[in-house]
């Protein structure tokens, strides 16, 4: 249904505009506004977006096939015609609510976290700009407009990672994130070109509706799918483009929470869920997506054990959890992927904000080896972080349990994966779930429990954060507990989120499991959570990490610490040759091009000096030259005449 006016559903189209207005206000006149006010403006802009999203959500008829709100023409060239319009449906509404809802809490938290930073106006302007771009990304009804949002979040991510750009490391991290993201963007662009060639349209709805008409498993569809996977890998930090996310922790912690945990990194999941019908026709591409997701989840989980920075542990955890989501959408369990996006947004934002609260309290300390026992000193932060830790570990009845179980269920029964691949991926994910619980236990134990390892000067000033920071933590903790009940497995009750998303996601025939198998699955994922926590308890609380220390001498430890060596490989394969080529070009430029120009200039000067020798100032010499010239001319005339 195409709508051209504003009504109670299309009202959500105003949300990006409101956020953009907030960004413009803070960006242009924010310098003249006193501190808490900039944050309040930004929070109100995002909060208004949340209200608009909720308004549209409650007005939205559950079985509708989606609304189109077209307000202008975007591009027209030859047979290509792209509207400037938003697609408002079940999927984009869920994403809008997550972005603006969690985003709002993080904005409020930021008021406390960024207190006293001279760049607060710039910070809030960029944060609002990010929200606007992300909303454009999820609401866009065409690939080019989605790409606008896609690039917009990339730019905001760059700006915010490098927010404290005065330090070289932060600026480097920002550039790294931007460049790696650009590689993914190339994938997006190429996918668009191929899509236009195959479908003759860049309208997402047109393309997904035409997809079933294309030959099943055709090379073009697989190509489009793999290119979209490359795009998704860039934004969602999947192998081999996961390199940027651990470094992205250089930004302020609320930024890590908003962009690098709750929203931007889920853009790839959203993209694949949105283009699901393409993948349903190209199982090879879908299986690749699932494999990439699972491998990323596993490798990042292993790397998370070796980190000592409170935020880097969470960064690897994010890569791992987004790997779960990618695996889900690769397996065709789109609702499970989006469900995990929602639950993960709550508990991961909560974990990051908790970490931010700790960093804030400790005056910038980020090394978990100098923390410990903080749960007693920071009751609210400690308790909410414990809830988030248990949720991400997948302890039954908390949100992570339900969404992770849904993903495991999806990979096991997926119709898109070959018979052997499904159970194999399931087993790997289950193993990753165990690891997740263990490394999250390590994170919580090292920060909040166990003995205090604080330096004396830090010990004196540690304090609970102000209410403006702890209230968002509490709200997110409530979400981390309750969000899971949206997606209870169908045999236990109503699966609200699967029902809600069913009209807009590709319908696939999942294998039906017997009731016993369903229960076995639930028990397995509960056991994975408790098993992982038990391992973590045994290794880190009882054994004081002695087992882990024994691993230090093996090659695994340094490998895990460096994020499984991907950085070194990228350094060797891309960065060094690139630098060599640049070096060579610079030598060529300096020694050949520059020297050549200098020499040419010198030659002209020499020629000039030669010519001045002639200009003696002696009139008689000039007269002689003239005479000689005349003789030569006469001789030529004679000679030519003789020839004639």
């Amino acid at each position: 249904m195409i709508e051209t006016g504003l009504n109670s559903i299309t009202v959500v189209a105003l949300a990006p505009l409101v956020a953009l207005v907030g960004a413009v206000v803070n960006g242009l006149i924010g310098r003249g506004i006193r501190e808490p006010v900039t944050g309040i403006i930004a929070s109100v802009a995002t909060g208004a977006g949340f209200v608009l999203s909720l308004w549209a959500f409650f007005a939205y008829p559950a079985d509708a096939e989606g609304y189109r709100y077209v307000f202008a023409e975007f591009l027209r060239a030859g047979t290509l015609s792209v509207d400037l319009g938003f697609a408002i449906d079940q999927l984009s509404l869920v994403m809008c609510m997550v972005i603006t809802g969690v985003g709002f809490l993080i904005h409020v938290y930021s008021i406390g976290y960024m207190k006293g930073d001279s760049g607060h106006a710039r910070y809030f302007a960029q944060l609002n700009l990010f929200v606007a771009a992300m909303l454009v990304l999820v609401l866009a009804d065409s690939f080019p407009l989605m790409f606008v949002g896609w690039e917009g979040v990339g730019v905001c991510s760059f700006l915010l990672i490098g927010f404290w750009y005065q330090q070289r490391d932060n600026a480097d991290a920002a550039r790294k994130a931007f460049i790696v993201n650009r590689i993914g963007d190339v994938g997006f662009l190429l996918a668009m070109f191929l899509t236009f060639q195959v479908f003759g349209s860049l309208d997402i709805n047109t393309v997904t509706q035409a997809a079933p008409g294309v030959a099943f498993g055709s090379a073009a569809l697989v190509g489009i799918g793999l290119l979209f996977l490359l795009a998704a890998a860039g934004k969602s930090a999947q192998i081999p483009l996961q390199l940027w996310l651990p470094d992205a922790m250089a930004g302020p912690t609320p930024v890590s929470a908003l962009i690098h945990a709750a929203t931007m990194v889920t853009a790839g999941v959203y993209l694949i869920a949105r283009t699901g019908p393409l993948f349903a026709q190209a199982p090879a591409a879908a299986a690749t997506v699932a494999w990439i997701g699972v491998l990323t989840a596993l490798i990042a989980a292993i790397a998370a054990f070796a980190q000592t920075d409170i935020k880097r542990i969470l960064a690897y955890s994010t890569i791992s959890q987004v790997g779960f989501m990618i695996a889900a959408v690769g397996a065709g369990a789109y609702w499970a992927g989006i469900f995990h996006v929602v639950t993960h947004a709550f508990f991961k934002a909560l974990l990051f904000l908790g970490a931010g609260s700790v960093i804030h309290a400790m005056g910038g300390e980020q090394d978990v080896r100098r923390m410990g026992g903080l749960g007693k000193r920071m009751r609210v932060t400690g308790t909410t972080s414990l809830i988030a830790t248990l949720a991400i570990a997948g302890v039954p009845l908390l949100s992570g349990f339900f969404s992770k179980d849904a993903i495991l269920h999806g990979t096991l029964t997926s119709p898109l994966l070959a018979d052997a691949a499904g159970p194999l991926l399931f087993a790997l994910l289950l193993m990753t779930a165990v690891l997740t619980a263990a490394y999250m236990f390590r994170w919580y134990y090292l920060v909040f429990a166990g003995e205090e390892r604080l330096t004396p000067e830090v010990q004196e000033k540690v304090h609970e954060s102000p209410a403006v920071m702890t209230v968002p933590l509490v709200i997110l903790a409530i979400g981390s507990v309750l969000a899971g009940y949206l997606g209870i497995q169908a045999f236990l009750g109503r699966n609200l989120i699967a029902e809600w998303l069913a009209p807009v996601t590709a319908a696939l025939d999942f294998e039906h499991l017997s009731l016993g198998a369903e229960w076995a699955l639930i028990v397995a994922s509960a056991l994975a959570a408790f098993g992982g926590l038990a391992i973590g308890y045994w290794v880190y609380a009882v054994g004081k990490g002695r087992v882990a220390k024994r691993l230090d001498d093996t090659p695994i430890a340094p490998l895990a610490r460096s994020g499984m060596g991907f950085d070194a490989v990228a350094q060797a394969v891309f960065v060094r040759p690139g630098e060599s080529v640049a070096q060579g070009l610079s030598v060529f430029d300096r020694d050949v091009v520059d020297q050549g120009l200098v020499a040419a200039g010198g030659a002209v000067g020499l020629l000039g000096r030669l010519a001045t020798l002639w200009q003696t100032g002696y009139v008689r010499l000039y007269a002689l030259s003239m005479l000689a010239g005349a003789v030569v001319v006469a001789a030529i005339a004679l000679f030519a005449g003789a020839l004639r």
Binding site: T612, Q615, G617, Y618, V619, R620, L624, L627
Partner: protein
Amino acid sequence: MNVPSEYFVALSAVLFGLGAVGVVLRRSAILVFLSIELMLNAANLAIIAYARQWSATGGAHALEGQGAVFIVLAVAAAEVAVGLGILVAIFRNRVTTDVDQLSEVRA
């Protein structure tokens, strides 16, 4: 008596050569001028000689060569007037008419 044109042209060439040598070798500006006049008149002589030959063959343009000579004479006179004026001015400033000492160009 009919003197052949070759004689005139040969005389003209000799005079022109003398003038050219004078221009190049003489250092006194007055004598350079004189040599230039010599060259001009050598040229005039050649033109007149050819004009005479032309009219002897009954050519239609017999008078054109003589007209050209008059124009050359007039221009030469004007040139001498200007040139001598310049010379006087230089002499007043420098107390010499040696053209080699007038050189002011330095590389």
